[in-house]
Symmetry: C2
Subunit: 193 residues, 2 copies
DNA sequence: CCTACCGATCGGTAGG
DNA sequence: CCTACCGATCGGTAGG
């Protein structure tokens, strides 16, 4: 919401929606709440957006785009552990740059309607597979232990995704510190060698 | 919902609410939805419950009770790594025994009203502190490395709490396997020694 | 546990 | 971007 005054009306609506959807959830946020936050009449929202769901759709798919862009920037020549480190820090950085939107992306996507819901799930699956490929490359290279991917992969994502909650933006730890710590924990474990 | 037919009406309402709140969220579930699931008229719900929020309250605090009970059963004489293992497996077991309710506990608690909301947050903080104490005991004993607890603790909880999602009940891995794998990952890490 | 109903609020449209 | 408004639905109560 900090940059609201520099955005056009459509951008203001998106920013206000991200904040409200994050704080109250999609279902508990009314178009009247949203209009009030923007400072216009409820009906005027529909000059800029087509439906409540269309706002959610833009938030979710814009976040998905950013997560994929980040993945495309990691060093394909690095070893798996290093690639994993870059992917983890990148993922957390995207969350941090989109404090409200990432919470919506993570929690409110289920209110998407078909066919958007199906497309969203498909993108998310693709993204998870990219991480899985890194982990499996590490196993193939003998760097990582053989562990059940059905457990390891969701554990990794859960570990990365808490970053949006628990802590307010002002007191946030730097994404690099969070990412490095999670990576070290994940790769080396808590126990002394 | 499997045992609905053996429950009294109040229990049926609770079971149906857990399922609906899990699938659609608290805000998006109407009392009419709930009544339909139970097979009575909407107004009849109020013979057994006082408000929509009171159902949520019972779910959340009943789950909290179970999490604490589980913690009280771990072996206080064991070393920190072993205590951690028992606590993790116990936590995941509670989630597994309450498939619908645990999702509600984890995601819908924010729709609690004061003073319940405050009480809930306080209980959750206490619970987290119990885990923190185990981790710090491990550090004090030289068994665990010094790491930023502000990162390690939420990472641990996130890792444990994914268990309620991603996977349908029928295909669930045994809680012991999930718990042991997460514990090993958390303590030893992914990398070969 | 039901019928009947309350005032409030919902997402969205018509028409300018 | 506004005024005016639509039909549908909301959580909950009265009274039996």
């Amino acid at each position: 919401m900090a940059l609201t005054q520099t955005l056009d009306r459509k951008g203001q609506i998106q920013a206000a929606a991200q904040n409200l959807f994050r704080e109250r959830g999609f279902a508990a946020t009314s178009m009247r709440d949203l209009a009030k936050a923007v400072g216009i009449e409820p009906a005027s929202l529909y000059s800029h957006i087509t439906s409540k769901e269309s706002i959610l759709r833009e938030i979710c798919f814009h976040m998905a785009d950013q997560f994929f862009e980040q993945l495309d920037q990691i060093d394909g020549q690095a070893n798996p552990a290093e690639q994993l480190k870059q992917a983890i820090i990148g993922h957390i950085s995207v969350i941090r740059k989109n404090y409200d939107a990432s919470a919506v992306f993570l929690h409110e996507w289920r209110f998407l309607e078909e066919p958007n819901l199906g497309r969203f799930k498909s993108l998310r699956r693709d993204y998870e597979q990219r991480f899985r490929a890194i982990l499996e490359a590490g196993q193939a290279a003998g760097q990582f232990r053989q562990m059940n991917m059905k457990i390891v992969l969701p554990t990794l994502f859960s570990s990365m995704n808490w970053a949006y909650e628990h802590v307010k933006p002002a007191t946030l730890l730097p994404p690099e510190e969070v990412g490095e710590t999670i990576w070290r924990l994940f790769v080396q474990g808590l126990e002394h060698k």
